[in-house]
């Protein structure tokens, strides 16, 4: 029994985790005819909270109710994995990344994100403010402008061989590289 719990607590290797994530596409297509994508939930949320723009004027319950329930489910699943079956060990990242981040002056802790940046106290530091407020804003803004996020473009869209998704994923990567090699070093300095 303890070995089973141990197994449930430990992180999954990519070759288990990846196909388990990819399975979302058939799960949603075959059980509800829905296309796997998460970021539209923010649009439905804006429609539900009455943001006044044509873009948010539609029957959000009918079109987006399922998507909002999916996100509510993600919170529950995250709680099950993160609070009940918590992995006691810190995330085993590559030594090179660890050395790089430590050299930049970041304290690596055992959580899924560094407390120093992602906390109420962190919000008052330049790095925390930019990461949480600007970063969050760009995730919401960019995903809707591009018409999808990692799930809708990098998984579903690429699987559908959509040209737009290929451009979007190249954009995701370009933006990520700029952040990693230009914005983060500047924030940490």
């Amino acid at each position: 029994m303890s070995e089973f719990v141990e197994l449930l607590r430990s992180p999954w290797p990519w070759y288990l985790a990846g196909p388990a994530i990819g399975a979302m596409v058939p799960l949603l297509l075959f059980t509800g005819g829905r296309r796997f994508g998460i970021s539209s939930s923010f649009r439905h949320l804006c429609a539900a909270t009455g943001v006044r723009a044509d873009y948010f004027r539609y029957d959000w319950r009918r079109e987006g109710g399922w998507n909002l329930l999916l996100v509510a489910g993600i919170v529950l699943g995250g709680a099950l994995a993160g609070m009940l079956l918590t992995d006691p060990n810190p995330v085993a990242i590559a030594e090179a990344t660890r050395a790089d981040l430590t050299a930049a002056g970041l304290t690596l802790d055992d959580r899924l994100a560094p407390r120093e940046i992602f906390s109420l106290a962190g919000l008052l530091t330049p790095a925390g403010f930019v990461a949480m407020i600007i970063g969050g804003f760009l995730v919401g803004f960019g995903a809707r402008w591009a018409g999808g996020c990692t799930s809708g473009h990098a998984i579903t869209g690429l699987a559908e061989l959509q040209r737009g998704s290929l451009i979007a994923v190249a954009g995701f990567f370009a933006g990520g590289l700029v952040t990693t090699y230009a914005i983060w070093p500047w924030l940490f300095s």
């Binding site: 699943g77 899924l112 960019g142």
Partner: protein
């Protein structure tokens, strides 16, 4: 109401996201530094499963639970919205270390500061909706 099924599928997804560690800010840092294969393996193998599914749907005209044919729509043409929106999203992804699914999973996992990230993403989406007509697409 069939909503329960989406709640369950979502819970499965949230569980997997945390177990795969793709919700970790450290993993995203590692990915953009090309220091490990983990994230590429996860996204790549997820894409393989998705691609086989879409191929089978197209090839065999598969139907959903209600017997309706599954239609795969072609996205709107053009490149501007994908390029500009994609780059902004990528900057946000590397800053927060979380895309929309992981933001929700992290809140569930007890990392409460991500409610602030969630609120900022809501604000970003609202702002996009308000200035949409003035943006190139």
């Amino acid at each position: 109401m069939s909503g329960l099924r989406y709640l369950l599928i979502g819970a499965y997804f949230g569980f997997v996201l945390v177990k795969a560690e793709v919700v970790s800010w450290y993993r995203i840092q590692e990915m953009f530094r090309f220091d490990a294969f983990h994230m590429y393996g996860v996204i790549g193998s997820a894409l393989v499963v998705a691609a086989i599914t879409i191929w089978a749907v197209r090839r065999f005209g598969l139907r959903n639970h209600a017997g309706e044919p599954i239609e795969i729509e072609t996205m709107e043409p053009g490149w501007r919205r994908y390029a500009y929106g994609g780059v902004l999203f990528g900057i946000g992804w590397a800053l927060t270390g979380a895309c929309p699914g992981p933001i929700a999973a992290l809140i569930g996992a007890g990392l409460w500061p991500f409610t602030i990230v969630f609120a900022a993403a809501w604000l970003g989406t609202a702002s996009y909706g308000l200035m949409r007509a003035r943006l190139p697409h």
